[in-house]
Symmetry: C2
Subunit: 307 residues, 2 copies
């Protein structure tokens, strides 16, 4: 089973209480591809980069089964650049620089070879771009997952409402769920979002784990209690990549299998935060991932006999 | 198996975004007793009240198997009174009034009949008072659990360090764990606290659940995602009461059984927050509690086959 991944491929500059890095590759589609390619091939990448995006980074992704036919390379422009500084609690950050560069021209065209994909992961992008990708698909995928952010709620709410009607699962963080609905209670926010279109909703709470909602069902996965979160950049996208990777590998979109996918996503996110950018994601393999999933089992597993 | 519960019995005035109540019974020992008495009898209560503490509230506790021989009634003084206002997020509150009243005279003397208790729950009190109770016991209980708060870290750190060496399990919230150790990472804070004396540590994170640490083992229990937290007053003490109640009922202090106790504690806390003060705790019975524990099982239960 294959996955189309739409999102950014970029350069980041990151500052955390533990250190600083001036230039490292990032972007939502980069993290999703690194995480998902542990589970399924091919990954059909859809993105846009400038002349400066390193060929060796492209090659590293290709080697993992990430197809680059849908990644446009713009010769005369630079890649998208983001720079941010995390606060001590690692849950909040200041954006220092956002240089859109090539991203202003992003108007993705799906290669024909991508049309057989069963799964679609729409990274955080303008809702109009997300809609355009969905419309280019001749056959509706088995599952469409989308990410978004507060910026689009403020600047493109109409388009966002449209794309929400067309997707199966929305991935947002707690603050975004609250902003989207005006509800402080996440349970109430979830109920409101499930009325906007998606049948499934994942609310990511960072170090406090993630919630999966579907009808009246709720599932909760903790984040792994880590000694240090070194760099949270890309954790949400790694979560998304692990989630959609597990779903695509199994081809099973039942609620029970989504629970497993949430745990797999949480495991990938827990690796991502251990080093700068996608560094740690590049290092891990099947064995590390299974070991980490076992930690999650140990972390939450209990049995009580009810009479 | 019986439990000695040491703590306050008091009046509270509470203001939340959902309402206001001028006078309701409260106090750590009240909540612990209400929660624990679902699982085991007798509860040996140790506290102090003034002439104004309602006889019908005493009678209601006695009816649940809470013995009052260790509750001193001071005729000429009023009961401890606390008043607070919760902020919209319900995770933070302002204390408006603290009238210690009888609490200034609290110098608990354990009745002889209490000496056979196998479990000791030390509610949040001056560490010197907690030490005095431990010293009065002729036989060391099977498990000593203690609660504390930031106030004692600032005003009585020496005594607090002493009592920590004498207890088996410390219950604190995340902010307290950080303050006690100067570590922001809860994993590092836990490691530091486990070196101070207790073999077990529970870090309560309110709506974000609770962590149990023992050696290199960690267990995580979520809080139930609730539509509304109506009043968080007493949730931590209800958690403690459910925890020690389950431990005493089973007589089993293994790590695996503590996991179950954490879930039971979380279930009791989830009831407590549904109405003002201990109102909801007075209403629930075995059936409601088992139903709630089943919700916790459904909330976190997943199975992944690892190859």
């Amino acid at each position: 089973m294959s996955i189309i991944v739409v999102g950014t491929m970029a350069f980041d500059a990151i500052e955390t209480p533990f250190g600083k890095i001036d230039k490292i590759i990032g972007g939502s589609a980069t993290y999703v591809a690194y995480a998902a390619s542990n589970f399924v091939k091919p990954i059909y990448q859809v993105s846009i980069v400038g002349y400066d995006f390193p060929v060796e980074e492209m090659a590293a992704l290709k080697k993992r089964g990430v197809q680059m036919d849908g990644v446009e390379i713009v010769p005369g422009k630079k890649s998208f650049f983001w720079s941010g500084r995390y606060h001590e609690d690692m849950n909040s950050r200041d954006t220092l620089v956002t240089d859109l560069n090539v991203l202003t021209d992003f108007n993705p065209k799906l290669p024909d070879a991508y049309q057989d994909a069963e799964f679609l992961m729409l990274g955080n992008l303008a809702p109009s771009t997300q809609i355009s990708v969905i419309r280019q698909l001749k056959k509706r995928p088995k599952l469409i997952v989308m990410d978004t952010m507060n910026f689009w709620m403020e600047s493109a709410m109409g388009d966002l409402e449209k794309v929400l009607k067309d997707v199966d699962l929305l991935l947002v963080n707690d603050a975004e769920a609250r902003q989207l609905t005006g509800q402080f209670s996440l349970v109430k926010a979830a109920r409101a979002i499930l009325k906007m279109g998606p049948q499934y909703l994942v609310i990511k709470k960072g170090e406090h784990g993630a919630l999966l909602f579907h009808g009246d069902n709720v599932f909760f996965a903790p984040a792994l209690p880590l000694e240090e979160v070194f760099d949270p950049t890309g954790a949400g996208d790694s979560f998304a990549g692990g989630f959609i990777g597990h779903i695509a590998k199994t081809g099973d979109i039942s609620f029970d299998n989504m629970k497993r996918a949430i745990i797999v996503g949480s495991a990938l996110a827990s690796f991502c935060v251990e080093k700068f950018g996608p560094t740690r994601l590049k290092e891990i393999g099947k064995e590390e991932i299974e070991g980490r999933i076992q930690l999650f089992k140990d972390l939450v597993n209990f049995d009580i006999e009810l009479v």
